[in-house]
Structure formats: structure tokens, C-alpha cells
């Protein structure tokens, strides 16, 4: 049957079982919006800024195993979306962005609202397409979803000129797709897996370092089984939190710049390191030369060969899908007669536990005078039973949320790690809430970050999203202030934010409930009350200690054992 390009686009989204698309209309996508209007299978969420559309699609994807979808118009619509696209790219989030483009005959003429969408997004997408003929729309969208979700996931942009969305073509959604130049890895090589098993069984001080790939690759159960079988300590990156349960005794906490002392020391001093779905980021291992000073064998499993041996030398690289590879590894280990050396493990754990004591876990000095931000997160954990979906923005509050909300399940911790995008938290929470209706969703934010996408309070009203916003309001761009305190001689250049709005009134102006909390004693009752309001968005403005810092801290460029602990200062 002949359909217009716009009809084809919508049919494709229906075929992909897209429940929600996040977007904002404009001239170049008018035909597409017209078709959206005529059906009700794909529900459209009208955001207030295109960046938020992409972050919402991102939160939707991170908290489910689905591909997020955003629709934006040409020109400014696309450029507004770029921050969101780059955010998803850095954290490997599956997403399809459909952007309108000026008509094919006007491309290259500096037409109204023309930008080179394919060119601008090229470095921050997994792949992108410009569709010049309506008969190519269906196959291109099919490819886009396939690319977004397979292999190392990522955002894929499909740019569609206005005339193409209005021309007719025969529609048939391809049943399958294959791209000759793209063959995502599957199972691991069995010799390598046997080799890995041997190395792990012979280890005296084994350590497991698990990242976002465990969450994205749905390999959490396999990881848990493996860690138990090996009896080794396990750490998670910021992106991997929840991939291994924080309440498990074998969990040594997050590692890296703001990770626990024990995780970083174990990382530095282990003899066999198994890295799974993690990419040895600079915020994780700090100074590469310092990390490499200690000899250790590294086994690295990742679906993307370019993540392996990028920053550190690896002894056994295994390119595979994590879930499959871990299942293979488990099979080999379970059928092996050899067991991990209990005596060696015991003395390794003795050492790790000493570090635990020295590091003192995550600790802070609570106060009855002023609200400590850590206390707010601990209370949030308590009131929500540790089971909520928590999104966050970027800054100190993000680190405290990561440290003090003990995530036990994957896909519950939703934050921008790689790009570190302030403004991510609230729109991401919208996507999370829509795909997880009835679940508790909270956004931990700062008074700086929230103002970068605060307009989305309006979207939340329109779509009745009962998100709980916890602003840890320290009146500072706190993370910047902390660096200025440590490394720039207390010169707080432009990190104090004057003239903040009255967030309670602001929330009310958008039709929500606002609360301001000044006293530590009021923290728990306020959070209780807010979460009891099941149908309301509640904005909690916590006036927190403006001088609090995030510890432990491995300063940029330093080695993992050169950490500043809270007591050092």
C-alpha cells in the first residue's frame, strides 16, 4: 500500500512497539505530527525544550530495556537536542532520534532552519542517516533501531527532509535486517573463557570491577553468581551501581574519584582483575602510570573492542556480549574440579576488611543545626525502602546519591556519568516515570542543575508525573566550589549563586506542591509526607550545609591510593 513518508514513520514506530515518543513540533516535522495526531498507539509527550525530549527518552531507555525515541524539528530543534544526544552517546544508551530537515531541494541553500544535522551529530551518535527518498524510510528506521539496541548500544539519528515526509511510497516494514559492515559480537571464544577461568581460580587476590555494561547488557544475575562463586570482592563504577547489590557483603562500594577507600585499594593491589562492561575511565583509575606500577593480570570482557586496551594494558581481552560470556564462564567454573584457594581468599579478605575499617565506609558527621546532604539521601533510602528509581543531575548531590543510596537492583540509578550533563535529572525522571507507572521515582538535584531544565515542571503537570524532586540546595555550584577550595586557593570564582528563586512558589506556580526544609529534624517527616502524596509532584527544597565536601576524593591525575579521606582534612 502507498503511504506518505510521515505515515510510514509512524507505522515504523508502531512496528517497533514504541509506547512513548518525546518531542517538540516545528515546520519540518509538521507532516509527522499530523500523522501522530491521527493515531493513538504511539503516545507523544510534549516537552518544553528539545534537550529534555532526548533526556526523557534516555531515562525511558535506561530504566527499561527499550529503545528511547525523540522527535525534533530541523535547525534549532536539532541543535537543542545535541546535548541530550551526546549524553546518551557517552553512556551507551539505545535511542532513535528523528529530526526534520528542510526539503531536499533546499538543502545546502542556507534555507530557513537548516543545519547539517548529520554533520553536527556525527561525533556523538553511533550512526546517523539522511533519508532522501520515502521508499528508504522503513528500511532506514529498521536499521536505526537495530543499530541502537545491538552491540554497544547508542543513539542513532534519522534526519528526514520535509518533502520526503510528504511523498508517497510503498510501505512494508522489513522483517529482518542485516548490515554487511556491522556484526555485533555474541558469544565469547571458548578457549579464552577457559583461560579466564584458570586465571581466576589461581588468583590469590582476585577483584571484580563491573561497569555500566552489566546494567545495559542485563547481566546482573550472572555477575552476582560469578562473584559468589569466586568469593572475590566486587566494585561497581558509577554507571554500574545496582548491577551488583550494594547490601551484599562482597560489595566494596563504588570505586574511582569518589569511590570507597577499600574499592580503590583493592583495585590497586589485586593480582587478577576481572573487568566486565567497564571502560577504565579517567575518573575511575585516576593516573594511568600510577595504576600500572603494580603488576596485576587483567581480564577484560567488553562488547566493544575499542573499550579494551584503550587506557591500560590488558592480558586477556575478551570481546563478547557480557551476559553470554559470563554464562560461559560460569559453566566452566562450575564444572571445574579446582576451587578458589580458600586460605588465600581469607587473607585477601582480611586485608580488604582492614581497608574497610581504615576508610570507615561512607561516613560524615551529622548535625542537629544544619542539614547534611548525606543525611537527606540516607533518609530517602530509608523511606523508599531502597527500592525507588533515582535520577540525578551533576555535582556533589550526584556523588552523595551514588554513595548513600544503596542500590540493590540494576536500572534504578539513572545519571549522566560520561558527559556529566547538568539538567539531565528532571527530564530523565519523566521518561522513567512514564515507562514505570506506579513506581516511586525521585530526582536528586542541586539548585544549580535543576534550573537547567526546570521548565519541565510544566511537562510533569501536563502528563501527571508524580516525581519527587529533592533539591540539595547549598546555594553553590558545590562541585565547582569544592575544587576551588581544594585546588584554587579558596577563590570561589562564580560558584556562588545569588538570587535563587523561591522554589516553593515556583513549584506552586507550575501547579505542584513545594516544600522548604531548613532543619535536620524536619528532613524525615518532610520526605515521609512527600512520598505519601502518591499523585503529586513534590518539590523539596532542602537548605543544606553549603560547605560540605564529597569524600573520599582521589584528586584528578592522582593514583587510586593517593586518596583524600574525610579525616585527612
Amino acid at each position: 500500500m502507498e503511504l506518505t513518508g510521515a505515515e510510514i514513520i509512524i507505522r515504523c514506530l508502531q512496528e517497533e512497539q514504541v509506547e512513548y515518543a518525546f518531542g517538540y513540533p516545528g515546520g519540518a516535522v509538521l507532516f509527522i505530527y499530523d500523522e501522530l495526531f491521527k493515531q493513538d498507539k504511539v503516545k507523544h509527550v510534549l516537552v518544553r525544550h528539545e534537550q529534555a525530549a532526548v533526556h526523557a527518552a534516555d531515562g525511558y531507555a535506561r530504566s527499561s530495556d527499550k529503545v528511547g525515541v525523540a522527535i525534533v524539528t530541523s535547525g534549532p530543534g536539532l541543535t537543542n537536542a545535541v546535548t541530550g544526544i551526546a549524553t546518551a552517546y557517552m553512556d551507551s544508551i539505545p535511542m532513535v532520534i528523528i529530526s526534520g530537515q528542510v526539503p531536499t531541494y533546499a538543502i545546502g541553500e542556507d534555507a530557513f532552519q537548516e543545519v547539517d544535522a548529520v554533520g553536527i551529530t556525527r561525533p556523538c551518535v553511533k550512526h546517523n542517516f539522511l533519508v532522501k527518498d520515502p521508499k528508504d524510510i522503513a528500511s532506514t528506521i529498521k536499521k536505526a533501531f537495530y543499530l541502537a539496541r545491538t552491540g554497544r548500544p547508542g543513539p542513532v539519528l534519522v534526519d528526514i527532509p520535509k518533502d520526503v515526509s510528504n511523498q508517497k511510497a510503498e510501505f512494508e516494514y522489513p522483517a529482518s535486517v542485516s548490515i554487511r559492515s556491522y556484526n555485533p559480537p555474541g558469544k565469547a571464544d571458548s578457549t579464552q573463557i577457559r583461560h579466564a577461568a584458570q586465571m581466576l581460580l589461581e588468583a590469590k587476590r582476585p577483584m571484580i570491577y563491573a561497569g555500566g555494561g552489566v546494567v545495559q547488557g542485563d547481566a546482573s544475575l550472572q555477575l552476582i553468581e560469578l562473584v559468589r562463586l569466586l568469593g572475590a570482592p566486587c566494585t561497581n563504577t558509577l554507571m554500574g551501581l545496582g548491577g551488583f547489590p550494594a547490601s551484599d557483603n562482597q560489595f566494596v562500594g563504588m570505586l574511582g574519584m569518589h569511590g570507597t577507600y577499600e574499592a580503590n585499594m583493592a583495585m590497586q593491589n589485586c593480582d587478577v582483575l576481572l573487568a566486565v562492561g567497564a571502560r577504565f575511565d579517567d575518573r575511575v583509575i585516576g593516573n594511568v602510570a600510577h595504576f600500572a606500577e603494580v603488576p596485576r593480570k587483567i581480564i577484560h570482557i567488553d562488547i566493544d573492542p575499542s573499550s579494551i586496551a584503550k587506557r591500560v594494558k590488558v592480558d586477556l581481552p575478551i570481546v563478547a556480549d557480557l551476559k553470554l560470556a559470563l554464562n560461559e564462564l560460569l559453566d566452566v567454573l562450575k564444572s571445574s574440579k579446582q576451587k578458589p584457594d580458600a586460605a588465600e581468599l581469607a587473607s585477601w579478605w582480611k586485608q580488604v576488611n582492614e581497608w574497610r575499617v581504615k576508610g570507615g565506609g561512607m561516613r560524615y558527621k551529622n548535625s542537629t543545626e544544619v542539614i547534611k546532604p548525606q543525611y537527606v539521601i540516607e533518609t530517602l533510602h530509608k523511606i523508599t525502602g531502597g527500592d525507588a528509581f533515582i535520577t540525578s543531575d551533576v555535582g556533589q548531590h550526584q556523588m552523595w546519591a551514588a554513595q548513600y543510596y544503596k542500590f540493590n537492583k540494576p536500572r534504578r540509578w539513572i545519571n549522566s556519568g560520561g558527559l556529566g550533563t547538568m539538567g539531565f535529572g528532571l527530564p530523565a525522571a519523566m521518561g522513567v516515570q512514564l515507562i514505570n507507572p506506579g513506581e516511586t521515582v525521585a530526582c536528586v538535584t542541586g539548585e544549580g542543575s535543576i534550573q537547567m531544565n526546570i521548565q519541565e515542571l510544566s511537562t510533569c503537570k501536563q502528563f501527571r508525573l508524580p516525581i519527587k524532586v529533592l533539591a540539595l540546595n547549598n546555594r553553590y555550584l558545590g562541585m565547582v566550589r569544592q575544587w576551588q577550595e581544594f585546588f584554587h586557593g579558596n577563590r570561589y570564582s562564580e560558584s556562588y549563586m545569588d538570587a535563587l528563586p523561591d522554589f516553593v512558589k515556583l513549584a506552586e506556580a507550575y501547579g505542584h506542591v513545594g516544600m522548604r526544609i531548613d532543619n535536620p529534624a524536619d528532613v524525615e517527616p518532610a520526605i515521609k509526607e512527600a512520598f505519601a502524596r502518591k499523585d503529586d509532584l513534590v518539590f523539596m527544597d532542602f537548605r543544606t550545609d553549603s560547605t560540605e565536601n564529597v569524600f573520599p576524593m582521589v584528586p584528578g591525575g592522582k593514583g587510586l591510593s593517593e586518596v583524600i579521606l574525610a579525616e585527612d582534612l
Partner: protein
């Protein structure tokens, strides 16, 4: 170390800019880059000459492989290979110089492909170093214009880069 990398890629609009963009975005060095369609019109073959440590070259190969439009990658310098570059050079050729310059072109197995009353245009192929040597032999003062394609490379014998 200098490496010569060959790739097959989809002959699609924008494919070249993906490769070039990758090199500039990641700070990799490009000494030369040549590209043209193959006997299969859906594919182009590209030769890139680059320099970098072993670790950088490994990343370059992996990053190239990761581009969806790239069908196959081969680091030719990892094994036996041939490389050739084409150069067109226009030189001032007047009076008694003309014979001497013609002889020089012959020695380097170049061909004079265009002649005017006071210029020769010479076509020369070979390894980059041979072309360099020729230019040196002619001397800067006589050279009016040079056009070089950059190296094209191919594996020796059974080393074949094909889909």
C-alpha cells in the same frame, strides 16, 4: 611508527567525513588519505597513512572497524605489502635544461605528459620516498607545481582485503 591502513567502506555520502572526523576528533595523525570506488560500485577503498605508538595504532584500527560504514580494515604494514603514489610535477624547463630534465625523468622512470615552450609536466609513480628523491634531484627552484595522490597500498600475494 608509520602505518599504512587500508579499508573498504560503503560508497555512501558522508562515509569519508566519518573517517576524517574520527581522526581529527581523536587527535590521530593523517599523513595522507586516498579514496575511490572499487570494481564493486557500492564500495570504496581507502588508504590512510598515519603515525602513532602501537597503542594508538591499535585504537585507530578498532575505531575504524567500529564505524558502521566501514566494511573491512587491514593494517598493511603488519605484513608484506606494496605501496605506490602518483605524482604530477610541473617544472620550469628552458634551453639546455630541457635535455637534462628529460634524462632525470627517465632515470626515475617518469613520463613527460605535457610540454610547453618553457615547462614540462612529469608523471611519476612509486613509493613516497622515490617521489621525494626525484623532487630533491630536480631542485626547488625549478619546481612550479606538485600534485601528489598520497599512498595507495595493497597486500602482497595472498593478502587480500575483500568482503
Amino acid at each position: 611508527m608509520r602505518h599504512i591502513i587500508s579499508l573498504l567502506m560503503e560508497n555512501e555520502a558522508g562515509a569519508l567525513s566519518r573517517v576524517a572526523g574520527l581522526f581529527s576528533a581523536r587527535g590521530y595523525n593523517i599523513e595522507s588519505l586516498t579514496v575511490a570506488p572499487t570494481e564493486d560500485p557500492t564500495m570504496s577503498r581507502m588508504t590512510i597513512v598515519t603515525r602513532g605508538s602501537d597503542a594508538v595504532i591499535e585504537q585507530i584500527n578498532k575505531q575504524l572497524n567500529k564505524l558502521v560504514d566501514v566494511v573491512a580494515v587491514m593494517d598493511l604494514s603488519e605484513g608484506e605489502h606494496l605501496e605506490r603514489e602518483l605524482m604530477l610535477v610541473k617544472i620550469r624547463a628552458k634551453g639546455e635544461d630541457r635535455d637534462e630534465l628529460k634524462r632525470m625523468a627517465d632515470i626515475f622512470r617518469g613520463r613527460v605528459i605535457d610540454v610547453s615552450s618553457d615547462t614540462y609536466t612529469i608523471e611519476l609513480t612509486g613509493a613516497g620516498s622515490k617521489l621525494d628523491n626525484f623532487l630533491e634531484a630536480i631542485g626547488r627552484e625549478l619546481i612550479l607545481e606538485t600534485v601528489r595522490t598520497g599512498a595507495s597500498g595493497i597486500g602482497r600475494g595472498d593478502r587480500i582485503l575483500k568482503l
